[in-house]
């Protein structure tokens, strides 16, 4: 093995190698977006990653509203649209996936956050994008995730008084409630 005299360079290359594994499959332009995303959200300890070919960061649930606000307002990102807010039930925790989109230039980025199963609550992003309103109500209906600061979390897809959270893995398939 060749000895490297410059410890800083060795450290940097090692770091690059670690990052490469996590973000394998990203194109150069998406790697650039990921760098900007990490830079903009540096206060929230972002964990870089890749959703297939899209740049992705994972942050803590408490920071999500401030992080989304920064992603929208920062001119380097300019994520003017919330394309999708998805909730995924991983049995021990819920993963909330925010897919952000900017039109010009055409860029997509992903912010993920995990919330615990028992106390599933995180700040609402309706103040950032009004598109989040119905998405959050839907996630609240189907998964029982509580979005703090949402103006009205009344049932959207289900009816008033429906018991249980049909989106969750634990909810049986062939079960129905009489209306």
């Amino acid at each position: 093995m060749v000895e490297n005299n410059d410890p800083e360079a060795a450290e940097a290359s090692q770091e690059a190698a670690v990052v490469d594994v996590a973000v394998e499959g990203l194109s150069q332009s998406n790697l650039d977006i990921l760098e900007v995303l990490k830079e903009v959200l540096k206060d929230f300890n972002p964990q870089p990653g890749a959703l297939d070919d899209l740049p992705q960061v994972t942050i803590g649930p408490g920071d999500i509203q401030r992080a989304c606000r920064l992603a929208k307002d920062d001119p380097r990102l300019g994520m003017s649209q919330l394309s999708l807010l998805a909730c995924v039930d991983y049995l021990e925790y819920f993963q909330i996936v925010y897919i952000l989109h900017s039109l010009d230039p055409d860029r997509t980025a992903v912010i993920k956050t995990d919330v615990p199963y028992e106390t599933a609550a995180l700040p609402s992003v309706t103040s950032v994008w009004r598109a989040a309103d119905w998405y959050e109500r839907e996630a609240h209906d189907l998964f029982g995730v509580h979005f703090e600061g949402h103006p009205d979390l009344s049932p959207l897809l289900l009816y008033e008084g429906f018991e249980g959270y049909p989106g969750r893995k634990e909810y049986p398939f062939n079960d129905y409630q009489e209306f």
């Binding site: 297939d52 003017s80 919330l82 897919i99 039109l103 119905w134 897809l157 909810y171």
Partner: protein, 376 residues
Amino acid sequence: MTDIPTGVVTRGEPVEMLLNMGPQHPSTHGVFRMVLWVDGEKVTDVEPHIGYLHRGSEKLCEGEQFHQVITLFDRMDYLANFNNELVYCAAVEKLMGLTVPERAEYVRVILCELNRIASHLLFVATMGLDAGAMTPSMICFRGRERVQSLFEAVSGARMMHNYFRIGGLKEDLPDNFEEMVGELMPLLQADIEEADKLLTFNEIFLARLKGVAAISVEDALDFGLTGPCLRACGVDYDLRKADPYSVYDRFEFNVPTGLDGDCWDRHFVRVQEMYESMKIVEQALVQMPKGNVTSSLGRRLPRPPKGEVYVRAENPRGEIGVYLVCDGTDKPYRLKVRPPSFCNLSAIKHLLKDTWIADTVVVLGSLDIVLGEVDR
């Protein structure tokens, strides 16, 4: 859902009256309910209620094998079945790293664009009806029927085709497909032109739609509006151009945009899009190669590796996205759809504020919603 009040309900000073519209209402394009607070003829507040058609499609997808999910996608946006099948198949193909035979890609594009025309024809028909014009709807339905007859010849079904497969198609086109499309195109062109001529610049139609419920670009982006509703505001953004999927980068076509983002612009953009789709179909027919249309999977069941993927496509109603999470089994772990109508409809509260009661119907019609997709 909140209880539906009976009798006359009023609130505030000056007195506002509650007016219930739907769910069984001919102009709500499905089962959609709006609770309007009105001050005289003016709408002051709207409470939209959706979910009457909620079937839990996303949850059902978790219980089906990958090739079975296609039928569920047919039933989400039931006016653009081929477009829905395409985006789902593209998502699984991307995750598996499958390449689709070139002929299959062209067939998909041709069918999707014809489906776009059929969907937009239905929009023009209902837009006319909402504004009080009966004749164009007959012409549009005649044109749509022609397209659906072709779909029937290709897939065996007028709707709910279940024709695309992961990695290709169910089977090759019928032998006389090109002749059938050749016969269809001039007739379809004539139908579109006839409806366009009767409706678009009609004085009454203009008076009913121009300047009604305009939305600014900022608000449109904020609400997540996509597709013709966004392009009506003047935003030149079409996924087929901006991020070409399938073989869309091989065709010459324009992206029509509006100016003010009002109801008339939303109508105008869709009419122009039909002409552009005709262009794409014509080019695709010329370029379409011969060859295989089935996937390299053969008759094996698709089984994508562990991973997740987000794929989007331009549907007639806007940008559809599929977020697919796989855990390595033969069923999706989680499948979340970004339904374009869902986002477009979420702006209804903003759009209807301070309009007239008589305009609510055209505003809702101009969004071109499909409740099967909104509620899933």
